[in-house]
């Protein structure tokens, strides 16, 4: 019984974490129309940024405060250098160019941080475990992580639903041409959205670092899972990404316990099932 409860918490936690990455991906694809394979590299970059910045500041959360603006800047630059050439090009070229970015980022990581895995400490005030019930304790950092991710998800929902920028983003998602006709500079909206997507992936990577540590290729799994989530939730839908993330997180956590050899297969089977029933995802436009 307590095993189920623990896995429930684990599933929610990993689902919420991956939601940060997946929501960035779905925003970029929904609004820019670009398939960004290098999204996983940003997650990896986040993990290594956490390593370096925590080394300097001594605390993951302080590191986050410096890391997020840095990620934003980095996203801005990458959009300017590479991504903006991909608008209105076909999927094949988008896949290729962002695949090339993966190769470049992987090598960058090798040069700067080397190929050994590194552990990143959780802040000392969150390093303990908390007793939930009799004989059941859970690391405090993971609980804090869930709270932070939830808060971020809520904030994102509020920004998109209630603010002027959010309204513009929603408008750009549903009709790009019209937004331009109305006189908004869509290039700026795109750059902003891409930078935000990058920052979300980096944030996820930094927050996850004390749990999963930093190692080469840490972003690969996240990338593939994020794509699965985008497909399940429907392209461009933040709400769909949220539901999809929790589904995948829980399926993975319980799969690992009940049929450990097939837990990954199960995730893809879940996606196939959703696609057969709703070809445009749970919340996608038909």
């Amino acid at each position: 019984m307590s095993l189920i409860f623990i896995q429930l918490l684990n599933g929610l936690q990993s689902g919420l974490l991956i939601f940060l990455a997946a929501s960035g991906l779905t925003l970029v694809f929904g609004i820019l129309g670009v398939i960004n394979l290098s999204h996983g590299s940003f997650y990896m970059l986040g993990a290594y940024l956490a390593l370096t910045l925590t080394g300097i500041f001594g605390d993951v959360f302080l590191a986050l405060a410096f890391g997020i603006p840095l990620a934003f800047l980095c996203g801005f630059l990458i959009e300017f250098l590479f991504i903006r050439h991909l608008y209105n090009r076909d999927h094949l070229q988008q896949v290729l160019l962002t695949f090339a970015l993966i190769l470049i980022f992987n090598e960058f990581q090798q040069v700067v941080w080397g190929s050994y895995p590194h552990a990143i400490p959780a802040p000392s005030y969150l390093a303990d475990s908390v007793r939930l019930t009799e004989g059941l304790s859970y690391p405090v950092y993971r609980l804090a992580l869930m709270a932070i991710c939830l808060a971020l998800a809520l904030a994102m929902g509020l920004v998109i639903q209630k603010t002027r920028v959010g309204r513009l983003i929603r408008a750009a998602e549903s009709n790009r041409e019209m937004v331009e006709v109305l006189g908004f500079d869509s290039r700026m909206i795109f750059r902003l959205v891409f930078a935000a997507g990058t920052a979300l992936a980096v944030t996820a990577g930094m927050l996850a670092a004390p749990i999963e540590s930093a190692y080469p290729g840490v972003g690969d799994r996240v990338l593939i899972l994020s794509f699965v989530i985008v497909v399940i939730g429907g392209i461009g839908s933040i709400r769909g990404a949220f539901i999809g993330s929790l589904l995948i997180g829980l399926a993975d956590a319980f799969g690992k316990v009940f049929m450990p050899q097939f837990s990954s297969v199960m995730i893809y089977a879940l996606m196939a099932l959703v696609l057969v029933m709703r070809p445009t995802g749970l919340f996608g436009r038909t």
């Binding site: 090009r89 896949v95 190769l103 470049i104 090598e107 593939i224 794509f227 497909v231 837990s263 196939a272």
Partner: protein, 597 residues
């Protein structure tokens, strides 16, 4: 359309082949083994071009079928004996093809982004199947202890552990694979695949079951990838789940595009070029230790430059610029052979209670009507009246919520678009919808081929004569006889419209459904198409949507007026002109607008 490679390409490949054949005679083990890898890789990448370049399916899971082929060799190899060469390679082809068939059955239901994602996920699924379970020694990989052999009564004919013999087998496989694929792509079957890449909606409207064609292409590509995988397993006698990994699939896509997708020979160049690039960047003696240590960075940057600079790929450098063929701009007037064509009874169309709801919104409600044979029926109505939705219901592009559609006595309600097309209904689209890179004749050939379209039609010859007649007839009726060899995309808007109609005639359709056939035409072109339509009703039934009221009243035998998804009136032009309700609801409003303007 895939054409024969031009002389410079042929010469390039003859030289390359000569070098490759001579290589084992002059070089040692290392270069030959390296080349063996590259040749196998080229075979694998070639199979992917059938999907990406020919059919337009960007598969991101192709590595999985390569992996299946490799593992097949492991499965059929006994513990301490050699497997038969044919059994090993056959198993690779079979397992690769079977896996591709299963994955393709799901994946080809989807398009674009979803197709990429589904193939990616399927590849990863197989990766984790071989990585996480003990099917074949799990994540450590497994050894094929003795490489495949071919013996004949004890005499060894072929031994894959001999690196020279194996090298020539791989080279032969690549050359054979190229010619088989080339023949396949040039066959009627391959023409359909290229049509799907250019315009899938149109192919479906012409009567092709595009799903089956795509699935067949996917399976064939999987079989060839399986063959390449089986050969790969025989290099080192080692198989690992990493063969399935999505990085493999990504690299393969990269080589296809680097070389030039859709040419078949381009991807071979791509594979060689990539392998050379990697080898050069890795060797410290050429580029220095700093770059050699970080050769992936060089690969990535090269790729970025390649994507941004040359969308055509390396094959683009080899092709000669062909002179533009500028055809005779004056199309012959259509209908010149009225007397030569006999009258023929075409099919009629009937709807009863036809309705369509979009999320609760009634787009079409309860339309019951008859379109008699051998007449021109015009559907008119204000914007948003549901005209296009209505004909989409007729052609099967969307499914009705309620009601029936009958062609003659046959109930076609709920049939998919391609089946309705084969029942004799051909349609055109609001935006001109042809295959711009195909010639006018090739466009019609695609249409004529639907007659007896079968998946396994690989040869043109038995059908050539009747089809050529159908094409000639269609071109002459549509007044395009002189323009047969022009590239469709370079013709005027009016001529493209004529071509669309010619395609419908060539496909043997009885019932033509045309969505704004006169849109964007000048008065002269309009006149030409109007007389073409009047001529066509001798042996066709025509249903059209049109906004040009003068033309409508000139061409139509009956008018059907739709307002807000309902049938307001139906009758002859004179009756409609006199109908008060129509005047108020539609013509009147337009007259008012006209008066204000």
């Amino acid at each position: 359309m895939l054409t024969r490679p031009n002389p410079s390409v042929v010469i390039f490949f003859l030289i390359l082949l000569a070098v490759l054949v001579a290589l084992p005679l002059v070089a040692g083990t290392y270069p030959v083994k390296l080349m063996t890898r590259v040749i196998i890789l080229a075979t694998f990448v070639l199979s992917l071009d059938l999907l990406i370049g020919i059919t337009g399916l960007v598969s991101f899971g192709h590595g999985a079928f390569f992996g299946c082929g490799a593992y097949a060799v492991y499965f059929v190899s006994p513990e301490s004996e050699a497997a038969n060469v044919f059994v090993a390679l056959g198993a690779g082809v079979a397992l690769g093809g079977a896996a591709a068939f299963v994955v393709g059955a799901f994946a080809t239901l989807t398009r674009g982004f979803y197709f990429i994602m589904v193939t990616l996920a399927a590849g990863q699924m197989m990766f984790s199947l071989f990585h996480d379970t003990d099917i074949a020694k799990g994540s450590d990989g497994a050894f094929v202890n003795v490489k495949p052999e071919l013996t004949f009564y004890g005499a060894s004919l072929l031994d894959f552990s001999d690196w020279r013999q194996f090298y020539y087998v791989c080279l032969l496989a690549l050359v054979a694979a190229y010619f088989v694929l080339f023949g396949l792509v040039r066959s009627p079957f391959g023409r359909v695949l290229q049509g799907i890449r250019a315009n899938e909606v149109r192919m479906s409207a012409l009567g092709y079951d595009t799903y089956r064609y795509k699935l067949a292409a996917f399976t064939v590509a999987g079989m060839l990838a399986g063959l390449a995988g089986a050969l790969f397993a025989s290099i080192d006698g080692f198989v690992t789940p990493e063969l399935f990994n999505w990085h493999q699939s990504g690299l393969a896509i990269m080589m296809v595009v680097l070389g030039g997708a859709g040419t078949l020979y381009g991807p071979i160049i791509g594979a060689f070029a990539y392998a050379m690039l990697e080898e050069v960047l890795k060797s410290a003696s050429i580029v220095g230790p700093l770059i050699a240590d970080h050769w992936r960075l060089g690969t990535g940057l090269t790729l970025v430059v390649a994507v941004l600079m040359s969308p055509e790929g390396l094959a683009g450098f080899l092709s000669w610029k062909r002179p533009r063929v500028i055809g005779d701009p004056s199309g012959a007037p259509p209908g010149q052979n009225i007397s030569s064509r006999p009258l023929r009874l075409a099919k009629a169309l009937l709807t009863s209670g036809l309705s369509k709801n979009f999320d609760g919104l009634r787009a079409i409600s309860d339309i019951s009507t008859v379109f008699e044979a051998n007449k021109v029926h015009a559907i008119i109505g204000p914007n948003g009246a549901g005209k296009t939705t209505f004909i989409n219901l007729l052609s099967g592009a969307i499914k009705a919520t309620a009601g029936q559609v009958l062609i003659d006595d046959q109930d076609v309600t709920g049939w998919p678009a391609h089946r309705i097309a084969r029942a004799g209904l051909g349609r055109s689209f609001q935006l001109t919808n042809i295959f711009p890179r195909f010639s006018v004749r090739e466009n019609c050939a695609l249409a004529a081929q639907t007659h007896k379209a079968s998946l396994w039609r690989l040869r043109d010859r038995p059908y050539q004569a009747p089809e050529a007649r159908a094409i000639d007839r269609a071109l002459s009726v549509a007044g395009l006889t002189e323009r047969g060899s022009s590239v469709a995309g370079r013709m005027s808007n009016g001529e493209q419209r004529q071509l669309e109609i010619a395609m419908l005639i060539a496909s043997g359709a009885d019932l033509l459904v045309l969505d704004e056939p006169l849109a964007g035409m000048g008065p002269e072109e309009t006149q030409r198409v109007v007389s073409l339509l009047r001529d066509l009703v001798r042996d066709h039934t025509i249903i059209l949507i049109e906004h040009d009221m003068d033309a409508v009243f000139a061409v139509a035998d009956t008018l059907t007026v739709l307002v807000q998804g309902k049938l307001l009136a139906q009758g002859s032009p004179d009756e409609i002109r006199a109908d008060r309700a129509v005047l108020e609801a539609y013509l009147g409003r337009q007259a008012e607008v006209g008066a204000v303007a």
